[in-house]
Amino acid sequence: MLSYIVRRVVATIPVVLMVALFVFSLLYIAPGDPAAIIAGDQATPADVDRIRASLGLDRPFLVRFFDWFWHVLQGDLGTSIFTNLPVTHMIAQRIEPTVSLMTLTLILSLGCAIPMGVVAAWKHGTWIDRAVMMTAVLGFSTPVFVIGYVLAYIFALRLDWLPVQGFTSISQGLWPFLRNLILPSVALGLVYMALIARITRATMLDVLAQDYVRTAKAKGVGQRGVLFVHALKNAAVPIVTIVGIGFAALIGGAVVTESVFAIPGLGRLTVDAILRRDYPVIQGVVLLFSFVYVLVNLGVDLLYTVFDPRIRY
């Protein structure tokens, strides 16, 4: 198992390398010029050229790529063109809000979606099943920002229970931390919840029709035991797979959610960097996301062995 993990971690290196090259090339050919943005409307073309040169943006593609990559290998993601701050510092500033948002979203969505899916499968064909599936369809088809606005309107503006925007670090206290995160987590989690609830229901329906479930029932195992011990454990592999795949959707959703709720996370950092053509920041954030995504997939693969002892690496 350990050698498998090491091999998988080593295998992430070429993947991340390819992502790095792809992102760098894409940014190189994309239109837009940070020097023109910095110089502003009052600048002369000569000023723009001088700023471009001072930022090293006039150097050939390969020189820039290898220079950047050499620094990345040493753990240096470069310096932001606009803020003059190290990219690693900017990412470090933004990690807590994004990790907090994603963690709470995962807890909320898994905590709700799996019981919903199990119950829907158990009560297959009843109004409970239809209600769960209708909720899932609604959550799946409503854009995150619409859900965000509706939640903010009801719970912040009308009821005044929660704030509209912002982020408070957990070091300031648990409740202030949660107050800021509840609405964005629900907004972001609804889509994820819908996805997992549907998959859970479909997989559970399949598993509940298996012989061993019938055997368990015949042995006198209670309904809860049948559902959560015998059936759910065997349905876990596809659910874990979809949780991993959904992680990518979560990253995309976090970009929108962080903008709507003004959360200073990595999603907003990415959007701001793209709009300004802050190349080092874009490259750094995409590299981080791709690395995390690869690690999540590794985690999913390892979880398979927990839920299905037949799987061995």
Partner: protein, 530 residues
């Protein structure tokens, strides 16, 4: 714990719980939470010319002169000045007691270093002064002198100009930074110091009160007078989504929103806790920018076709909506309701729009249906609205429009290209100019018609340039008015660009905030919070 111990502990806890909100309320009234017009990604007001950076810089760095609401430069860091009768020698003296945030005194050598860095980047006034300067010298610790080889009567306006880049005074070691590289130390002598430790670019910027700042004795008036700050802390919160910003203001999570979206203003006006008013009395002038280098608009007849067909009402309706108090038509280039405003030569922008004559003029200019490249920054509401109206206008006058939807970053790059439109160049793009930059020709780079060195579009008119030069030499307001009328006519005849109208924007704040003034920049001094 026994019963008495428990009760004692509970009583202490309850008292603390009650006291805490009082303390936090007191702290609350000493903190101003502000949503600026854009993200504050850096704080070097010379390296970049973004207005949001200038606005933040106004808190950190002080200026030698500051304009008041009559657009007159008043002494700020300077105690006074002496100008030779021929306006070639200018000597200035700093007021006593000026200190930087690091405790060091502000000296003349800091001022001269700051002026040199500013001159290297200010094409409108600093650059021209440098070109006619024999020397800039520190006379003593508190005095400095310009020696010029040509008269420069507008020196005070240059030193106090609010258009970017403005002249901010930095310590010599910081001002010595290459003007094309960003500074990394934000030490000024202004009323607030920048809290770099709490800065999260793109999310928040914190300014703490500088106790060592000594305001002038006069009442504050825009950038002049005593800059008295009534807060210990000013928090700039970057809220990118206008819907969220509106909700945050209504919910009391922020105190002041610099640029509320005009379509959300009716909602804000209904809220009893929110005040809404015009932000900048000098407003903005919309711009239909034409490339003078390539057909069809290298022919003045084609440019005039646009001028006589363009309806400013249509543009303003698209930009600011139904609220007619926010906009007006302007058959001129200068900011309405300012001393130099004139409509001389503006007839082509008045009266009924004539599409048939426009088509005739285009034909005379040799236009035969070639694609006309219109660059539209669709991520900026004002440019997107103008671009849509222009696409419709061009179709009406028989122009084959190539509408290119881009983001502002790409338009910023494309507009610098002088190549023909078919090879990556352009014919038209839209922007707008702050009214504060259009009060006279000095900061008005868009009116420059010097050809290759002019602003994007590269108009060339010797007559326009001659009139701009004449304004610099004008000895008094009456002479300036005469020259500006001639300049307006010359620029209209040449169609340097076509103004699409004059519009204002709102600002909004919670009603427990008082002292918010109308100005081209947020003025934090004398603002209080109940």
């Amino acid at each position: 714990m026994d019963r008495r111990g428990f009760l004692k502990t509970a009583a202490v806890a309850a008292t603390s719980a009650l006291a805490a909100p009082r303390l936090s309320l007191a702290a609350e009234s000493r903190t101003l939470r502000f949503i600026p017009q854009a993200n504050l990604a850096n704080l070097d007001p010379i390296w970049t010319t973004q207005y949001v950076v200038r606005n933040g810089a106004l808190l950190i760095w002080d200026m030698l002169y500051g304009v008041d609401d009559k657009l007159q430069p008043q002494p700020q860091m300077c105690e006074g000045h002496e100008a030779s009768p021929d306006f070639k020698t200018w000597t200035f003296k700093l007021r006593p007691g000026l200190k930087f945030h690091d405790g060091e005194p502000v000296l003349a050598k800091d001022v001269t270093a700051s002026i040199l860095r500013w001159m290297a980047r200010d094409a409108t006034m600093g650059g021209p002064i440098k070109r006619q300067m024999d020397a800039l010298e520190a006379v003593d610790d508190r005095s400095f002198r310009f020696r010029l080889n040509k008269p420069y009567p507008k020196m005070l306006f240059a030193l106090g100009k609010s258009s970017t880049p403005s002249l901010f005074i930095m310590p010599e070691r910081i001002a010595a930074t290459d003007p094309f590289k960003q500074i990394s130390e934000y030490v000024g002598s202004g009323p607030m110091r920048f809290n770099k430790g709490e800065w999260v670019p793109g999310a928040k910027a914190i300014f703490d009160k500088f106790e060592g700042y000594t305001p002038r004795g006069e009442k504050a008036n825009w950038l002049s007078g005593g800059k008295r700050i009534n807060f210990d802390r000013i928090e700039w919160q970057i809220v990118p989504d206008v819907g969220t910003a509106s909700a945050a203001l209504q919910n009391g999570e922020v105190d002041w929103w610099e640029t509320p979206s005009s379509d959300l203003v009716p909602l804000l006006k209904k809220n009893p806790n929110v005040a809404v008013d015009i932000a900048d009395p000098l407003g903005n002038i919309g711009s239909f920018r034409i490339n003078h280098l390539h057909p069809p608009f290298n022919d003045v007849r084609a440019r005039k076709a646009i001028q006589i067909a363009l309806s400013q009402e249509d543009y303003m309706g698209a930009v600011v909506g139904d609220d007619e108090s926010l906009w007006k038509t302007i058959p001129g280039f200068f900011t309405p309701d300012t001393p130099l405003y004139t409509e001389v030569g503006g007839e082509p922008l008045k009266g009924k729009r004539d599409y048939e004559l426009a088509k005739k003029l285009l034909a005379e200019a040799g236009y035969k249906g070639e694609p006309v490249v219109l660059l539209v920054a669709t991520d900026v509401g004002i440019t997107k609205s103008q671009g849509d109206v222009t696409a419709d206008l061009l179709k009406r006058i028989g122009v084959n429009v190539d509408y290119q939807a881009l983001d502002w970053g790409t338009v910023g790059q494309r507009r610098a290209k002088k190549d023909p439109p078919a090879q990556g160049g352009w014919n038209i793009f839209h922007t707008w100019h702050a009214g504060a930059d259009c009060v006279n020709p000095a900061p008005y780079i868009a009116l420059d018609a010097s050809g290759d060195t002019a602003w994007f579009g590269w108009p060339k008119s010797d007559l326009v340039q001659e009139k701009i030069g004449a304004w610099y030499a004008a000895p008094d307001l009456a002479a300036e008015k005469t020259v500006i009328a001639e300049l307006n006519k010359a620029a209209m005849d040449h169609v340097v660009y076509v103004p699409t109208g004059f519009f204002k924007q709102y600002q909004a704040w919670r009603k427990n905030i008082s002292g918010v003034v109308k100005a081209p920049f947020p003025v934090f001094w004398d603002v209080t919070k109940a």
